[in-house]
Subunit: 161 residues, 3 copies
């Protein structure tokens, strides 16, 4: 069995179904696009197992605590891994996590955004190890995210052919 | 005639002149930068035909409706295509739309940012088709955009030599 | 002596020590990650000489003036150059500044974000010249930046082997 998926299984983590967009929303985008040895990954949201937007929604530092934001970022990593698996077939083909933009839906006075996006980064590093998993990152506070999701994260990764 | 430009003409769409920055603003940047088969594209604004910032300006969900935001995103696509044409000579040289960051200037409670950036994505997919035109994307809400433009969009595309 | 560092010295500019994160903050990221001839650079903050977050902190257009924001963006460039020097050994190995995302921590009515990020861009162009130094850029306003820093900037550059 592929190593990354075996680890996910050992950790008791499952990958969600593809994003079910909110009713009436057209999404004229690709979740992953590959050129050569690079894969570009769209901004992902935290998802429930069936692909619907996970709850709770809202602003971190407002309706959501930092810990809830951290868990949302972890769910976002799983949603991104699910998209990569659908595109690549095998998550072991991701050889290098290059770049991550972590966006947090923030309440007016909240600014500890790195603590939130760590929910994503910690999981990626746990799964892929430091050499492949440590990525460059910005972890910043947005005025709004689509449909009031607490976290949205996009990435660029290197892949083997 | 080049195919993409022929399509633009059929659709009755014209490309604007280069950005005229607001008076007194120094812009020490490149609108497009090429390395190998990749072109990086600066954040673009919606432009009027003469290259000045298009009206209306303001925040979507505040001064501007979603439909006005959509139209602003469509104008932003035309401004970006104009920059790419100046740099590449021929828009058919864009072989793959890889990645788009769509930023919406949002009023406090507005979060339907994907509906706004669809104004950009729909036009790119209409012009380039699904295989080349579908791109990875984040469509998110900003606290401010330069000089109160409603939308700013940056991109990375693949090009033929 | 390497040319870029000689210029920095002539200009009386010194590179800061590595980032000292705020107490208790885990930072599971890489400041720079290299693949082939590209280096991805994490979001950087303005730093004091010892690597602590520089003062003043706060929102541009609120606690900070545009000029203070400009100086913060200039300090951010120095912090990024310090990270690149640690990773590459020699700043002359940066052959092309491809892409910059300049994020400004904005007070509610402030939108002259390009004037702030020019503090970064002006320094890079002065050091590297127009051909190598002019970069594509977005310069936009964020609802929050980590620990209330006024500016955060990330980049992608081309390097020689």
């Amino acid at each position: 069995m592929a190593k990354i998926e075996a680890k996910l299984q050992q950790m008791g983590l499952a990958l969600p179904a593809p994003l079910k967009p909110p009713a009436g929303l057209k999404v004229p985008i690709a979740m992953v696009k590959i050129t050569g040895t690079h894969a570009y990954v769209s901004g992902h949201a935290p998802l429930a197992a069936d692909g619907s937007l996970a709850n709770p929604k809202g602003k971190v530092g407002g309706e959501l605590t930092v810990e809830q934001g951290y868990q949302a970022a972890r769910l976002t990593a799983l949603a991104m891994l699910a998209s990569l698996k659908r595109e690549l077939g095998d998550l072991d083909r991701v050889t290098n996590w290059l770049k991550v933009l972590g966006m947090v839906n923030v309440a007016p006075t909240f600014n500890e955004t790195p603590r939130v996006i760590n929910g994503f980064s910690d999981l990626i590093v746990e799964l892929y190890g430091k050499e492949r998993g440590l990525h460059t990152r910005s972890a910043v506070g947005m005025a709004a995210l689509p449909f009031n999701i607490p976290v949205e994260i996009e990435a660029e990764v290197e892949i083997s052919k």
